[in-house]
């Protein structure tokens, strides 16, 4: 699975219709270690810019990231 660093993030409280049941939830843009960026969701502990994350799942084409252990 892919790993990278948080480029930016937000926690969404006001969600679109399809995601209302998930709110609040965190989305991120991750700068991947192999290059390029990808937009995904965060599972578990909230993450901040420059923190390391690892992809733990993919659902419906969306990557889910978790804070990486130091």
């Amino acid at each position: 699975m892919r790993t990278g660093v948080v480029y930016t993030e937000t926690v969404i409280y006001s969600a679109p219709e399809a995601f209302m049941k998930d709110a609040p939830y965190q989305t991120v843009i991750v700068s991947l270690n192999g290059g390029g960026r990808v937009t995904g969701r965060v599972i578990g502990e909230r993450v901040a810019i420059d923190e390391r994350v690892a992809e733990v799942a993919e659902r419906d084409g969306v990557p889910y990231f978790r804070k990486a252990l130091a």
């Binding site: 480029y7 930016t8 993030e9 937000t10 926690v11 969404i12 409280y13 006001s14 969600a15 679109p16 219709e17 399809a18 995601f19 209302m20 998930d22 609040p24 939830y25 989305t27 843009i29 960026r37 990808v38 937009t39 995904g40 969701r41 810019i49 420059d50 419906d60 084409g61 969306v62």
Partner: protein, 427 residues
């Protein structure tokens, strides 16, 4: 005659506007404009009429009724009959989704009594109105038609907020960022986070933009929300997407706006108060935010601005007032940087210091902006032109700025995939 106009257009395209080399991906920020416009090949163009509806939530008004009111007001603002309009552009983002009606351009133009002429809808997300204005200008400047009308309209409040968010999300990358659960508020929240991280921009800076635009909107009888707010209120608003609160977000509004363009040499036939279009340019970028190298700046705005400044022969420092696309407070801050009003990274303190206030050195969004005046998406870019024209004519009433001979409008689509920058000057 048709052939001559067509040939003139081809010549203008071929010789007047010459495409420069593709910019390298990495040099996007300070890159030279992609097109060099030869002013000699273009006819000077003037705005000869403006008209609007108030912005707001109007449960008993449909899209057509709003568009016809703005168009009618506009025709009444000039010595012009509908039959004299030779081409029609409609700026509209999502009429089919919001109002269940497609084929909107002739739907509106025929209702205005503008018959038989080319009638074209332009969709470029929140820059639909600005883009429609740009295309209308190009048609007049190239000599294809003399009298061209632009109407921008959006009817949004008939849908509940979560559905509105979903429809607006269609202006983002629906196979990536939006599928992950983002909204436009969350994309701009991510821009704000990065801007804060890189430049030390604070939530108080964002709040200052909201407070200023609410104060201006309170003076504007055409504004959707005429309510003064405090910094504390803005900071403690309902969270939407961190760090943005309700007060950082523009409004969901109904409304329409219209302008009519004509060659400057014929402007006196239609009005005693023409306003000159000195420069206008449109540029584009990736739709997906993640594809941008640096999300704290909008390269499309920088490119469009560079071209519009060059066409107008003016510099950023000379602009006296501006209508900027404050879909979110951070967007106004970034716009002031991209347009060269503030240095890069200093847009926050620039707003906080009051430079953009009604009594400041260069008032921004004197009428309240998208934040307070309202943001009926397809109408916004056209309404910016209307408001600028009113200011340049000295007809803006309670929101009139003191120095008003050179103004700029900046209209942004999505998270920066379309940008239109227009520079207008009093004649």
């Amino acid at each position: 005659l048709v052939n001559r106009a067509a040939i003139r257009f081809c010549c203008a395209k071929r010789y007047g506007i010459t495409a420069a080399l593709e910019r390298p991906e990495s040099a996007c920020i300070e890159a030279a404009p992609r097109y060099v416009v030869d002013n000699e090949a273009m006819r000077p163009v003037a705005v000869v009429a403006v008209g609007k509806t108030p912005f707001g939530a109007f449960p008993d008004r449909g899209l057509l009724s709003l568009a016809v009111e703005a168009g009618g007001n506009c025709l009444g603002n000039a010595r012009l009959l509908p039959a004299q309009v030779q081409s029609f552009y409609l700026g509209n983002f999502a009429g089919p989704s919001f109002a269940g009606q497609n084929h909107l351009a002739p739907y509106v133009s025929m209702a205005l009594g503008i018959r038989d002429v080319p009638s074209t809808r332009i969709e470029a997300a929140c820059a639909s109105g600005g883009s429609a204005f740009f295309h209308a200008w190009a048609e007049v400047a190239a000599g294809i038609q003399d009298v061209v009308m632009v109407v921008g309209v959006e009817k949004m409040t008939s849908q509940p907020t979560p559905r509105v968010s979903e429809i607006l999300a269609g202006a983002g990358d629906c196979s990536g960022e939006m599928r992950a659960g983002n909204t436009f508020a969350s994309l701009f929240a991510m821009i704000a986070r990065r801007h804060m991280h890189m430049f030390g921009t604070r939530r108080e800076h964002l709040a200052a933009v909201a407070v200023k635009n609410h104060a201006n909107g309170a003076l504007n009888p055409m504004a959707h929300m005429r309510k003064v707010i405090t910094i504390e209120q803005a900071l403690n608003g309902k969270p939407i997407a961190d760090p943005l609160t309700l007060y950082d977000c523009s409004l969901v509004s109904d409304g329409a706006a219209a302008v009519i363009l004509a060659p400057l040499e014929r402007a006196a036939e239609f009005t005693d108060k023409p306003v000159r279009v000195l420069g206008v340019a449109q540029a584009s970028d990736y739709v997906a935010l993640e594809r941008k190298e640096d999300i704290t700046t909008f390269p499309a705005v920088r490119r469009a601005a560079a071209q519009a400044y060059r066409m107008a022969g003016v510099e950023a420092a000379e602009i006296q007032l501006a209508e900027l696309h404050d879909c979110f407070t951070i967007a106004e801050i970034v716009a002031t940087e991209d347009l060269g009003f503030a240095k890069r990274g200093e847009g926050g303190p620039y707003a906080f210091a009051g430079c953009t206030a009604l009594g400041g050195a260069r008032p921004v969004n004197a009428g309240g902006g998208l934040k307070s005046k309202g943001h009926p998406v397809g109408a916004t870019g056209v309404a910016q032109i209307c408001d600028l024209v009113m200011q340049l004519r000295g007809e803006a009433g309670a929101i009139q700025v003191p120095r008003h001979s050179l103004g700029l409008a900046q209209n942004l689509g999505g998270s920066g995939a379309t940008a239109v920058v227009s520079i207008l000057g009093a004649v």
